[in-house]
Symmetry: none
Subunit: 191 residues, 4 copies
């Protein structure tokens, strides 16, 4: 019997792609990826039929990792603010620890080959957050703003904070705090 597609190899490709795309952009050659993954050029295509498909898969994978990181240790019983704070902190920390992943994510979001399925799949792991916000709005802790607004400003501000921290790591605390305060101030119920 022949060897079977190995999850290890698939991951090796995904890791290699992350690295290569982060360094050289999405236009990097697939041969650079297979080389970095230590496999033959053709082998890449037994795991991903197309370069576009690889990028889509990579996007999902990164989103999944990110969701994992964000939800680990999620304090389900705490206040809305402290749960949101947790999400914020985890996201920023993940981005700072995984700059390549985050860089690829930003490139993919500007890319024109991302499928609807991938977009859907990419946001799926974040339903719990969505529910939390929904709930908080029902309880009048959070303003009645369209939910996409809250989610997207969260991401936008967190990404901005990450970039700022990378540029000026000494002010990391200032940026993290000010970013979260801006977010929370913008969505919490006004007295």
């Amino acid at each position: 019997m022949a060897r079977i597609k190995s999850q290890d190899k698939r991951n090796a490709i995904l890791d290699a792609a992350t690295q290569v795309f982060a360094e050289r952009g999405l236009s990097a050659a697939t041969s650079a990826i297979s080389a970095a993954a230590g496999i033959a050029e053709g082998t890449l295509f037994t795991y991903f039929t197309t370069k576009d498909q690889l990028v889509n898969a990579l996007y999902r994978e990164i989103k999944l990792e990110l969701a994992d990181a964000m939800m680990s240790g999620f304090p389900r019983k705490n206040s809305v603010r402290s749960r949101l704070q947790h999400i914020w902190d985890q996201y920023v920390e993940w981005g700072l620890k995984n700059p390549m992943q985050q860089g690829v994510l930003q490139q993919v979001l500007v890319w024109n080959g991302l499928t609807q399925e991938s977009k859907k799949a990419g946001s799926a792991p974040f339903v719990e957050i969505e529910r939390m916000i929904e709930e908080a709005q029902r309880q009048h802790i959070v303003q009645d703003l369209p939910r996409p607004f809250i989610q997207m400003t969260l991401v936008a501000l967190a990404d901005t904070v990450m970039e700022l921290v990378r540029q000026d790591p000494k002010r990391a605390e200032i940026y993290r705090t000010a970013g979260f305060e801006m977010l929370w101030g913008g969505i919490q119920r006004k007295r």
Copy 2:
């Protein structure tokens, strides 16, 4: 004397590039651009020696247009808040009216061929905004946050708002207002 290099043709190329890059990404072929501009493939290279150079030039051009739009009618005598509001409104309006330009801008910012000169030139027209913020901080109207934080969150939130408005134009007003409130709430001096 021979025909002289025409500013019109240069602009036609820049416009065509904007369109083509917006539709197909920065990896679009230069031949697509020359075709869209109605010129021969080789002609593009009498105006821009290199594709990279063209992208750099396009970036500067767009930034300049944007600055023009943002500073037009700038109410120099009004309150800080209303001046910032003006900037915010003009930026969002420009982005919504010029989606291709804005799309290209975002792609270029993730691209790895932008030169230091271009970056510098691109931010030059925005000094007045920087000065205004500086001034507002000195007067304790705005918190003493690192200036890059204020600038970048402004851009990040405005970009987010534009995207949201495009997805759901009926809520345009909600997004614009909520976005600005989030920004202002996050930077104004607390009583």
Copy 3:
């Protein structure tokens, strides 16, 4: 395992290049070469990374063939004169039988992309001739002239003879003899 880079294909490319360069000059397109070799345009570049590299490789190859031809049946025990005669005869014969190779050789020698390594490698197989001359000078059979003089006049006269024979094949014998006599008369020890 995949198909392995074949020596046959490499040789096919080299042969095709010889033909094409001989007919159209070194400025001939690589696509003409791949077509003549019966391979795809891209395939050429899996064997030679660059056109320049191909020309360099071709130069070495031809020099090697030439050396082979010249040294085959080399009468190591005969007189200096008869050994030189052998070299002369073999060279002229090789050139007349392989006009394309010889034509390419001449073009490459006037070309500006030949590397130092190639030059060195190209002259390596001819050391035995050099030694023979050295030896003959020590024995006062050949005048004490700078060795490059002897080598280069040999080549120059032989090339001239080949050209003359091609123009006027009936006089082949006259040219060959007169050419060698000129060479030998010019370097032998005077009584």
Copy 4:
């Protein structure tokens, strides 16, 4: 009335072409030549309809200059040997003083665009030499060898000597003398 084609400009182009071709080979761009000549790109084509034509014209020009140099001070009354010596000396001197011209000459001779007319025109100014040899053969001073043999070996040996002198100028005298002796020894009547 419009300006008329100037001989000066024609010469400027020819000089520039000599320089540029010598440095970069015959494949150098015509734009490089017009730049070096201080004229516009298009102007070159009012003097030479085609690049090929320019090369052909340059060939003739150089051959003419060479003939001039060789025949200047030609000692019509001296012995055959001393007249041939004069030709030899003048040729070698011209080549050493005009390395660019000589380099171009060699490239053109290997080039495939030289017309029959150019070849004919190029050899025309050398008839006097041809006649001298003819005469010398009739007088049994020079062997009854085919005339092209004598002419071409003269050129081949002189070119070789020039190259050798360039590589090792200290031995200039040795090379010049040995070269001429080889030539003369190869063609003079044997006692």
